[in-house]
């Protein structure tokens, strides 16, 4: 009998497992894939460390919820800040943002009337709070700033960070995310890639006596009196697991499917049904030449690509010696994936005129339809508590509002563990 059984060893499941194991709980983590980390680990290919999902970036560097979580566990994962944080390439010219609180190089590109309006917005947000989530960020922004450059810049930033067009981001959520970027002062790269974080979590969990199974699939559950009493597992090692609590890191919809719809009330099912994912395309490029030395490059003039980063300027170990690794990201704006990829490649060729001579496309990765960028697009996350008394969710369908991707996952895990600690004692 375990205290906690965790289904899925993505970053959310592993963070929860590590924290609970540290508290002395008997923990088992059950992962269906042969590797751990889900969409947050390395994918080695041709000597490069590509990734299974997340670009090797921690959105808020050493100051965000993920890094803070790891620090509380006592794990020493090296996260190197992007310096400068980023560059915006606008009409062929690069504008460096050294300090996240100083966007003046970009603001100065706007006509005086818009600059005054921006100052007014800043004041209003500080004084009156965030805009409503009832309108989209696009509607809100277009009401405030007239120059269309604002929409382009916003789409580049949110396209890269959240894999969303601003017409599908609730205004309040979008501005809260921007505020957090400002508060946390920039992004960082985990040295060795996302896997370095996964490896240190796995090692920690096992040292604390936690058990982690791979190639083990939970295929069904037994339920008694609104409690999960048993997990049925297909694996070489065990066929069933009993635990006081079950934490699912496989997504809200997938969890409902696994447990069975009939155990959830109509309200909850509607809530789960309303979650829609964010989808995107990542293009991994190798080059002997270095093109982008100044942090994340946001690309407002591109048709699709929101931004890219030459990761080897921060961590050369992600590529073979003498090679550079560039990863671009774009939101998937239509269901014609081949066309979206073609447009992304056109964008890359406009950013790197010598693309055909100097660059090799290593891997093009698309994420949608059940294996998306985020299971819940920002602003659409639901809570971790479920109608079943001992079942809780972690992961990218239950992120904390206002945090980007992994930061939202870490923050969500933090919240639910606090809640669980009250039930445990």
């Amino acid at each position: 009998m375990y205290n906690v059984a965790i289904i899925g060893a993505g970053i959310g499941g592993l963070l929860a497992g590590a924290s609970l194991a540290k508290q002395g709980k008997k923990v088992i983590i059950i992962e269906k894939m042969p590797y751990l980390g889900g969409r947050f680990t390395n994918l080695p290919y041709k000597g490069f460390q590509l990734s299974t999902g997340a670009v090797h970036l921690i959105p808020h560097g050493n100051r965000g919820p993920l890094a803070q979580f790891l620090q509380r566990l006592g794990l020493s994962v090296k996260i190197e800040d992007c310096k400068p944080w980023c560059t915006f390439r606008i009409r062929g010219k690069d504008y460096l943002i050294n300090d996240v609180s100083d966007f003046n190089p970009i603001i100065n590109l706007f006509p005086l009337i818009d600059r005054l309006r921006m100052a007014k917005i800043l004041f209003e947000v500080k004084l009156l709070g965030l805009p409503s989530n009832e309108i989209t960020l696009e509607e809100w922004l277009k009401n405030q700033v007239k120059d269309e450059l604002a929409v382009k810049i916003a789409n580049a930033f949110y396209g890269f960070a959240l894999s969303l067009h601003i017409n599908s981001i609730p205004a309040g959520e979008g501005i809260l995310i921007l505020k957090r970027v400002n508060d946390c002062k920039g992004s960082g790269v985990p040295i060795g890639g996302c896997k370095s974080i996964i490896d240190s979590l796995v090692k920690f969990i096992e040292l604390q006596g936690g058990k982690i199974l791979t190639k083990a699939k939970v295929v069904g559950v037994d339920i008694d009196n609104e409690n999960i009493t048993k997990l049925h597992v297909e694996s070489d090692q065990i066929s069933e697991v009993s635990a006081n609590f079950v934490i699912s890191d496989i997504g809200a919809k997938e969890t409902v499917e696994l447990v069975g719809e009939k155990y959830f009330d109509k309200n909850y099912l509607q809530k789960v049904e309303s979650i829609s994912p964010s989808a995107g395309v990542k293009i991994n490029i190798a080059s002997k030449k270095s093109f982008f030395k100044n942090g994340i490059l946001f690309t407002p003039d591109c048709q699709r690509i929101g931004g890219l980063i030459e990761l080897t300027t921060i961590d050369p170990s992600l590529a073979p010696q003498g090679q550079n690794l560039i990863i671009s990201h774009q939101p998937l704006l239509s269901t014609d994936i081949k066309k979206e990829i073609e447009i992304g490649l056109e964008d890359l060729k406009s950013l790197i005129p010598s693309f055909d001579q100097d660059c090799e496309i290593l891997l093009i990765q698309s994420y949608h339809n059940g294996w998306p960028v985020n299971r819940a697009a920002s602003g659409l996350d639901i809570g971790s508590v479920t109608p079943l008394k001992n079942l809780f969710l972690v992961g990218d369908s239950v992120k904390e509002p206002g945090w980007i991707d992994t930061e939202g996952v870490a923050s969500g895990v933090e919240q639910i563990l606090e809640y669980l600690s009250k039930i445990f004692y």
Partner: protein, 55 residues
């Protein structure tokens, strides 16, 4: 023979690096070059969407 279920495949390309014969390419969807494929079925294990199956 190994086949890709195109309605399940999302094009995440996880399978590509695991193919020792470099028989898989991904451009929106994974594609297996059956002339190169030795039918080792390693890729079946690495698909998070269960989109690769024995045909």
């Amino acid at each position: 023979m190994v086949i890709i279920n195109e309605s399940r495949c999302v094009g995440c390309a996880h399978c590509v690096p695991f193919c020792q014969m470099s028989a898989i390419t991904a451009l929106g969807f994974a594609k297996i070059d059956l002339d190169l494929c030795t039918n080792c079925k390693l890729c079946l294990n690495y698909c998070p969407k269960n989109a690769i199956a024995e045909g």
